[in-house]
């Protein structure tokens, strides 16, 4: 498979994966571009891998986790925003309409990645463990902790809604 063929077949999937883990459209594009750039530079190796898409997906996830470890990841807000010049973010709708999506944003980067790989990418725990370089038991523990956090957050939201 040529690089161009891979990108046209799977490029958009990578942007979507980037969006589900990062929750930020611009960052999703950046992550997809980083993953594809690295894959392009090592394409001879990538194309002969058992699953080239898994290889590129791993690059993207590692790029995201590295990104979240940087201090600059949490960007400082600007003093003033020019409302007329802001670009509509496709995440806005889902953020406003889905409390579960909002709760996902409060999880740690690793927890969020595990849930995305498990429930959006439908990967089994062994594959996730291999992709993240951790043990399957750690994947299960992380997923369990993340789900418990989401459940608690959801219950407290519902209580708040009933009270208001």
């Amino acid at each position: 498979m040529e690089f161009e063929e891979y990108v046209s077949a799977r490029g958009q999937e990578l942007v979507r994966l980037g969006f589900t883990v990062s929750g930020d459209y611009q960052r999703a594009e950046d992550l997809a571009q980083i993953a594809l750039m690295q894959a392009f530079r090592a394409w001879r190796k990538v194309r002969t891998a058992d699953d080239p898409h898994n290889y590129v997906r791993r690059i993207l996830i590692n790029a995201y986790l590295s990104m979240t470890r940087r201090r600059s990841f949490t960007e400082a807000p600007t003093a003033e925003l020019d409302a007329e010049r802001t670009v509509p973010d496709p995440a806005t709708d889902i953020v406003n309409s889905d409390d579960l999506w909002r709760s996902l944003a409060r999880l740690s980067a690793r927890e969020r990645v595990v849930l995305v790989l498990r429930y959006y990418q439908d990967l089994d725990d062994h594959t996730i463990a291999d992709l993240l370089g951790i043990k399957p038991s750690s994947v299960r523990a992380t997923a369990s902790r993340a789900l418990a956090t989401l459940r608690r957050t959801r219950q407290s939201h519902r209580v708040d809604e009933r009270l208001s």
């Binding site: 690089f3 161009e4 990108v7 046209s8 490029g11 958009q12 990578l14 942007v15 979507r16 994966l17 969006f19 589900t20 929750g23 459209y25 999703a28 594009e29 997809a32 571009q33 594809l36 750039m37 690295q38 894959a39 392009f40 530079r41 496709p90 995440a91 709708d93 889902i94 889905d98 579960l100 999506w101 996902l104 849930l115 995305v116 429930y119 959006y120 789900l147 989401l150 459940r151 959801r154 219950q155």
Partner: protein
């Protein structure tokens, strides 16, 4: 709320979020252009680093050369200790190729004695050498490393006795060679100069 309900909701939320991502059309171009630019930056950085290293080396050699006491001609037969790091020119089989006459040799006082043959050392760019100790033909091979590391082998030779010029002893003992204009110097492991040769005109 059961875990299954939460998992189902999570799947639906993530699918909805993914579906909200607008299509990106120029991913291939951005990835290939970005990779090429990154590669170019790497090459430029590597080139700049190489230039910087070369500049530091040149400055270092110049400073070392300025700080070192000027070397006066040494009487034949006296050993002169010259720092082995004082390599002035890039030394390679190509740069040292030619015919060399011994100027001084550690411990040899009879360099100027009359001999049946001219006691020259001929280094060839293919890594072989030949010459004469004044009475016998000599031959062998040699190698020069990137930093002037030197090794040599000596082939079979006749053993006619005379005031033999010990090229073979110099070559076998030498661990480093340095070329300074038309002067070739051989050094021992401890940096001691074993011999110096002048290029034959």
């Amino acid at each position: 709320m059961s875990n299954t309900d939460l998992e189902d909701d999570l799947r639906a939320t993530l699918d909805r979020a993914a579906a909200s991502v607008p299509p990106v059309t120029d991913l291939t171009e951005r990835a290939t252009t970005g990779a090429r630019q990154a590669q170019r930056r790497t090459w430029i950085a590597s080139g700049a680093a190489a230039v910087a290293v070369a500049a530091i080396a040149i400055v270092g050699v110049n400073v070392a050369g300025r700080d070192a006491p000027s070397q006066s001609p040494v009487a034949a037969g006296t050993a002169s200790a010259t720092p082995s790091a004082k390599v002035q020119s890039q030394v390679s089989p190509q740069s040292v190729a030619g015919t060399w006459r011994p100027v001084e040799m550690d411990g040899l006082k009879t360099l100027k004695a009359a001999r049946p043959e001219d006691p020259v050392l001929v280094l060839l760019p293919d890594g072989t050498w030949n010459g004469s100790d004044g009475c016998n033909g000599l031959q062998g091979t040699y190698t020069i490393g990137q930093r002037g590391e030197f090794t040599a082998t000596v082939g079979p030779q006749r053993m006619v006795g005379c005031e033999n010029v010990p090229h073979t002893g110099v070559l076998k003992t030498a661990k480093r060679v340095a070329l300074d204009a038309d002067t070739l110097r051989f050094f021992a492991t401890d940096g001691r100069q074993l011999a110096s040769y002048a290029r034959a005109r």
